[in-house]
């Protein structure tokens, strides 16, 4: 899983019918030390994350294992909101 920060929302009226009701968020990847990276991605939120939350994003076919995403066409899902991150000093 990768770490990211929620930086925005996506609204799409016309979309795959299995995505109706899904909350789509724009996530910017961050490194574990908190620094923003250049990559952005769209992920389906399954844990009610909010703007600026640090989140855990699961990618690839594993994203379909998240709650409520069975058989949906997704390759990125937010499955956790990070409270705390402890890391060895570099």
């Amino acid at each position: 899983m990768i770490l990211g920060r929620v930086v925005g929302t996506v609204v799409a009226t016309r979309k795959d019918e299995r995505l109706v009701g899904a909350k789509l968020l724009v996530v910017r990847t961050i490194d574990p030390y908190g620094k923003d990276e250049a990559n952005h991605l769209v992920a389906v939120d399954t844990v009610d994350a909010g703007l600026n939350d640090r989140v855990l994003v699961v990618s690839g076919s594993s994203a379909r294992m998240a709650q409520g995403l069975k058989d949906t066409p997704v390759d990125a899902a937010i499955v956790g909101v990070v409270d705390e991150l402890e890391i060895e000093k570099r």
Partner: protein, 88 residues
């Protein structure tokens, strides 16, 4: 599977129910000479490893398999603690 070192822990109280109970660890992938290789990622611990240990982890859809029959939404899982390795 990839060699890595566990470099930290992640605490998330709001998360997918199937992730409950498993430790979330930050792992730094390693090259065969033991130096860091690429960016750290978050992996679910399937064997009880800890910070500072050298491990190997499995990526992709198969990362959910250690936790069957639970369907854990993860794309990385630690499946072994490395005692030592040799590259000829």
């Amino acid at each position: 599977m990839m060699l890595a070192r566990v470099i930290g822990t992640v605490v998330a109280s709001r998360k997918d129910a199937a992730l409950g109970g498993s430790a979330l660890l930050l792992v730094q992938p390693l090259a065969t000479d033991g130096t860091p290789s690429g960016k750290p990622i978050v992996a679910v611990d399937a064997i009880g490893s800890g910070v500072g240990e050298q491990v190997f982890y499995v990526k992709g859809r198969e990362a959910a398999l250690p936790f069957l029959p639970a369907e854990v939404p993860t794309d990385a899982a630690i499946v072994g603690i490395v005692d030592h390795w040799n590259v000829g």
